[in-house]
């Protein structure tokens, strides 16, 4: 908790202006299905769609497809409560990459955190093949974030990109998963053309109606600690954290189950899975 609060109060604030949209052009758009186990003890697999844009200069932007919707709504109006149910997503992050430099943004509660990092992936090419969506794919393996990953790429698609931070193979990565299958990205669609996207990354996160959201720039180690801490908070604690900057004091929540039983909102959260297995 201490680390979390210290980051909130001591970090540098960068202000984003929602009204000035910085349009950038991508020439490749890929949608990946991400199947993932949200909690460490979960059997159930959740699914979200993630979008990859490759810009003309080879840089990429990778984000949750729902965040594209958030951006398109916030260009014209504030998101209201009725929109939330269809816009809230689990993996609400953006990975922007050029060369080996990664710019990562993720929201925790109502705050957006950002950090930059250099990642060098040491891919090992394996002579196994499989067909994905009629593309002949080859296998490659790599270790990243405390997990071993298997990727399938096609040299027929002249791009070295892939989902999340995975890149640097001699063809586009169509499928990548960790060996325990906790996170599994599979290509859903791939288009070549001109795609105008908003380069103002702050607009992809849900904004409060009154507070102009700053982005908190931290280093990766601090961010992973903050994320772990935030996800350990109980529901009550999260609400208090979200309302830290609010003039009004957060009231006590009473949430009842469909059977009428009052739920314990102060119960610790379940342990979340993240791509980076960092304590």
């Amino acid at each position: 908790m201490k680390t979390l609060y210290s980051i909130v109060f001591l970090s540098v604030f960068i202000s984003f202006n929602a009204q000035t949209n910085n349009i950038v052009t991508a020439n490749l758009k890929a949608i990946y299905k991400l199947e993932f186990k949200k909690f460490v003890d979960a059997d159930k697999t959740s699914t979200e769609n993630m979008t990859l844009f490759q810009l003309k200069d080879g840089a990429t932007t990778f984000l949750n497809s729902k965040m594209m919707l958030i951006d398109s709504i916030q260009k014209i109006r504030i998101i209201d409560v009725s929109d939330l149910a269809s816009l809230v997503c689990v993996n609400n992050f953006i990975v922007q990459q050029s060369s080996d430099k990664y710019h990562y943004l993720e929201s925790l509660g109502s705050d957006i955190f950002s950090f930059e990092q250099n990642i060098k992936l040491n891919w090992e090419l394996v002579s196994e093949r499989k067909l994905i969506n009629n593309y002949n794919c080859k296998k490659a393996t790599v270790s990243y974030g405390g997990r071993d990953w298997i990727a399938w790429y096609s040299i027929d698609i002249a791009s070295t990109s892939g989902p999340y931070i995975f890149k640097g193979l001699p063809g586009l990565i169509l499928e990548v998963s960790d060996v325990d299958n906790v996170f599994h990205f599979t290509i859903e669609s791939l288009q070549y053309g001109l795609f105008k996207i908003n380069g103002n990354l702050g607009n992809y996160f849900i904004k409060d109606a009154h507070v102009k959201k700053p982005v908190t720039v931290v280093n990766s180690t601090d961010f992973y600690k903050a994320r772990n801490n935030y996800n350990k908070l109980s529901l009550d604690e999260r609400m208090k954290y979200i309302n830290l900057n609010s003039a009004e004091k957060a009231g006590t929540m009473i949430i009842t189950s469909p059977q009428g039983e009052i739920l314990n909102t102060n119960r610790p959260s379940k342990v979340r899975n993240f791509i980076e297995r960092v304590e």
């Binding site: 020439n27 200069d57 080879g58 002249a158 791009s159 791939l190 070549y192 001109l194």
Partner: protein, 871 residues
């Protein structure tokens, strides 16, 4: 050795530029041993300055291949020496870089306005072979055994192939013949207007389906199937070649089998497809009951003893964007047979009469039909002409034991029908449409029933030495009709004014005689009856929407003149009738997903030809009937409310319906049953009322691609007064019916389907009553042993009981199928049907004053192997 090390460690570096020497960022540079190999020895990508470095080529060869790829440039490929080198590679920009979909997004369903488009690859399960099986997976779709497709209980109006309606209502040839692999997507058009003249002018509640054939599909494609079975040597052969071009489509179908699949619904006549014209058409009126060779409830494959052959061909020529010509020809030859027995218990106050029937029936049906349709479908004018020639011949034989009396009944029916119908519609202004049409129809029907030994000897033309009884009927019908229909907007409401005029002239000759016939036969056993009817219906109809409220009101003024003459007794009648018939319906959209409404109608009708002809007719080996000597007027009033919930996003639908109906008639049916099981039906001139009420609930829930559930419940009751065996008794029938089905198919290694039908009926006649309960289940489990092989296990089971017998009968049938798809084109199938070799199936049904328990024989255990090939 030093050289080898140097070669493996050779460093290739360089810069990638375009024709203007501008650096190219993000190009992929691959080193391979062979020119066209995709084995990557080493690779790199160009940085923001267009530079790249491959530190180790990892090749021992003297030379290697370097390939450079970039999305916006042509591929570059060159053989280079495997040594340290620095290259400058120039890429050429692709001349025309069009937007390109490299992997199409796979959405199972796309919703655009009233059109729902389903991706076939996404929707279909592994086991699906024909497109019909895939259509059945669309939420809300149900498909009957004859192939009719319903979308939320409403039959679809058109099935298009690439936007063209080749087969009109007879689309089962296509849906059962087109392999699922040939179709790209299935579009469901809700509120669809086939006639372009209606688009923007009229609202439609019709639903249509379009099959979009894959682009790369061969011009001629289709499927061929054959099966052979033992120990009863049986087989099946089907070929459905399909030819689809932009301006010409043709579907032929050659089918033959004796494995229990009827082909009667394969290839029917082309039709005019206009509701006004259907109302003018005179249907076949078989008077003698045809030889029954049908089982019930259970799938045909278990009981249908058949030899069937059907050949059909449908062709469509698209003359222009708005003009189509369609031609079809069908031939059917089918022999069906069944062995059955039944116990029918008639209640008559305190008395109970049992009729037992054991029968062994066979029926041969031959049918030939040829049709031509021409259609002009423009924005302001619509014209359709249909010409049809139809000839059919039925020959049946029944060997019966009726209450221990042995009988043989021979049945023949020949039917020839020629018709021509034209419909024209013309638009005036933005919203007015005038339509009209004319129909000419000639029909000739000959029926013969020959029963040995003689029956009804005490009633029909008494002759002490009779050996057999023979009923001969000959009916010729001429029918001409016209309609006009004018739709317009007035007082902000859509109005339709319609006028129908129809003229019928029927000639009916009948003779019921004993063989040999010594005495001269007289009326009523011989008849020469003429029937003429002039009918005029003037109808005014309007509908209005006010917010969420939709109102429909119609009133029609019906005028009828009926002239009848029985020449044998020189008795002529000429009666005229005038009725005002209102119908009122109201629907209200309570909220987005909730609809409610009701309809009220009052209708009066007079007896038609079949209820008026005067001679006595033997309609089956054990039934003699005679129409009343008066023209009967039947008045029906009904009130039907409903409330429904539909949520297309969650695929959840529920409807609760009620119906209260009352039918009043000027006559009461009277029947008399003798101890030998012979029934005489007459009619008394006494007013009669039938009350018919029901309430039903239907719930449907689907999870796209995984689960589909249906549940329906119906409570219905029926009561009226009957005159049976010389006494008036109030007959009541009440039944509870539950239908449920569940299908689980998530595209993994298994799928499961279950359906159940439960009926609990009570028939009460005076002081006696009989309860009958029938429960039917069917379940299928599919197991996929791998991507190519599939096991299917099926069971159908029924439990039938009625309180008139102590015995409850349970019959269960099992079958197992193995399918091996050796390729996407060839399928091998092996099947074991009726594994337990169950010999009979029992069912029960409660009628007005009788409850029957009937059994029919099943096909013996069969082992079948077969091949299906799509081309």
């Amino acid at each position: 050795m030093p050289f080898l090390v140097q070669a493996q460690n050779a460093t290739i570096q360089g810069v990638i530029v375009d024709a203007n020497s501008k650096t190219v960022v993000g190009a992929t540079i691959i080193i391979s041993a062979e020119k066209d190999s995709d084995d990557v020895l080493s690779f790199a990508s160009s940085d923001s300055f267009g530079k790249f470095v491959i530190e180790k080529t990892k090749s021992q060869a003297d030379s290697i291949w370097i390939t450079v790829r970039h999305l916006e440039y042509n591929n570059y490929k060159r053989k280079i020496a495997n040594r340290n080198s620095s290259l400058k590679i120039e890429l050429l920009r692709k001349t025309e870089q069009l937007a390109e979909v490299l992997i199409a997004p796979r959405k199972i369903v796309t919703i655009k306005g009233d059109t729902l488009t389903y991706d076939v690859e996404g929707l279909k399960a592994k086991k699906d072979y024909t497109i019909e099986e895939v259509i059945a997976r669309i939420p809300g779709v149900s498909i009957s055994e004859n192939g009719q497709i319903k979308y939320f209980d409403k039959a679809i109006s058109h099935l298009y192939i690439n936007g063209l309606d080749l087969l009109e209502g007879r689309y089962n040839i296509a849906t059962r013949g087109i392999p699922a692999s040939a179709v790209k997507d299935i579009a469901v058009y809700k509120n669809h207007n086939h006639e372009r003249i209606n688009i923007g002018r009229r609202d439609s509640e019709e639903v249509s389906i379009n099959l979009k054939i894959k682009n790369g599909q061969n011009v001629v494609f289709g499927s061929a199937k054959n099966e052979a079975a033992v120990p009863l040597l049986t087989g099946l052969a089907d070929v459905t070649p399909i030819y689809i071009k932009a301006k010409f489509q043709s579907i032929a179908s050659f089918k033959a089998n004796n494995i229990g699949a009827s082909l009667k619904s394969n290839g029917e006549s082309l039709s005019i497809g206009d509701i006004n014209m259907y109302k003018l058409k005179v249907e076949d009126t078989p008077i003698i009951r045809p030889t029954n060779t049908n089982g019930s409830v259970l799938s045909n494959k278990y009981w249908l003893d058949n030899e069937s052959l059907s050949v059909t061909n449908d062709a469509l020529l698209k003359v222009s964007d708005s003009t189509l010509v369609k031609f079809n020809i069908n031939f059917l030859n089918e022999v069906t047979a069944i062995q059955s027995q039944s116990l029918r218990t008639f209640l008559s106050g305190v008395n109970v009469n049992d009729v037992t029937t054991v029968s062994n029936n066979e029926l041969r049906t031959k049918r030939f039909q040829i049709g031509l349709n021409q259609e002009i479908n423009k924005k302001n004018i619509y014209l359709k002409n249909n010409t049809n020639l139809y000839a059919a011949n039925d020959n049946g034989i029944e060997n019966i034991v009726l209450n221990q009396n042995q009988l043989t009944a021979g049945f023949q029916n020949s039917n020839v029908n020629i018709s021509n119908a034209t419909v024209v519609k013309r638009a005036f202004g933005k919203d007015k449409i005038l339509s009209g049409g004319a129909l000419f129809q000639y029909n000739n029907q000959s029926e013969v029933l020959h029963v040995t030994p003689a029956v009804f000897t005490q009633n029909a033309a008494v002759n002490g030495v009779s050996e057999s009884t023979r009923q001969v009927l000959d009916i010729s019908k001429f029918n001409a009709g016209m309609f006009s229909d004018y739709s317009f907007l007035w007082l902000k409401m859509n109005w339709t004014a319609a006028q129908n005029i129809q003229y019928n002239n029927f000639q009916f000759r009948s003779q019921l005689n004993q063989n040999p016939q010594i005495n001269t036969i007289q009326f009523p056993f011989v008849g020469d009856f003429q029937f003429q009817k002039l009918k005029s219906i003037t109808r005014l109809q309007t509908k209005r929407s006010i917010g969420n409220l939709n109102l429909k009101v119609s009133i029609s003024a019906d005028f009828l003149n009926i002239f009848t003459r029985e020449r044998e007794i020189n008795d002529a009648k000429n009666e005229s009738y005038f009725f005002l018939q209102p119908v009122f319906s109201l629907t209200y959209k309570i909220k987005n997903n909730w609809d409610s409404g009701f309809s009220i109608s009052q209708n009066r009708a007079v007896s038609d030809f079949q209820q008026i002809f005067q001679p006595v007719v033997m309609t089956s080996f054990n039934m003699l009937s005679q129409n009343p000597p008066v023209i009967n007027v039947v008045a029906t009033t009904s009130f039907a409310p409903f409330i429904s919930y539909s949520n297309i996003l969650n695929n959840f639908y529920a409807t609760l319906r009620g119906s209260i109906g009352k039918t009043s008639s000027d006559v009461t049916f009277a029947s008399e049953l003798n101890n030998q099981g012979f029934l005489t039906m007459t009619v008394l001139e006494r007013a009669n009322v039938v009350n018919n009420n029901s309430i039903s609930l239907n719930v449907n829930k689907s999870v796209l691609g995984i689960l589909k559930t249906d549940f329906s419940y119906m409570l219905s009751s029926f009561n009226n007064e009957l005159f049976f065996n010389n006494q008036f008794i109030n007959a009541q029938n009440q039944s509870h019916t539950i239908d449920a089905s569940i299908t689980v198919d998530n595209g993994t290694w298994y799928s499961f389907a279950y359906k159940a039908n439960y009926r609990n009926g009570k028939t009460t006649f005076g002081e006696s009553s009989i309860d009958n309960i029938f429960l039917f289940h069917g379940a299928t489990v599919d197991l996929y042993a791998g991507p190519k092989s599939q096991w299917q296990f099926g069971a159908e089971s029924a439990r039938a009981s009625a309180t008139m017998t102590a015995k409850t009968d349970v019959n269960t049938m099992f079958n197992a199928n193995y399918t091996y798809k050796s390729s996407s084109k060839l399928i091998f199938k092996a099947a074991l049907l009726n594994i337990l070799n169950t010999s009979v199936f029992q069912t029960t049904y409660g009628g007005t004053n009788a409850v029957s328990i009937s059994q029919f024989a099943l096909r013996p255990r069969q082992f079948t192997i077969g091949l299906t090939y799509s081309f």
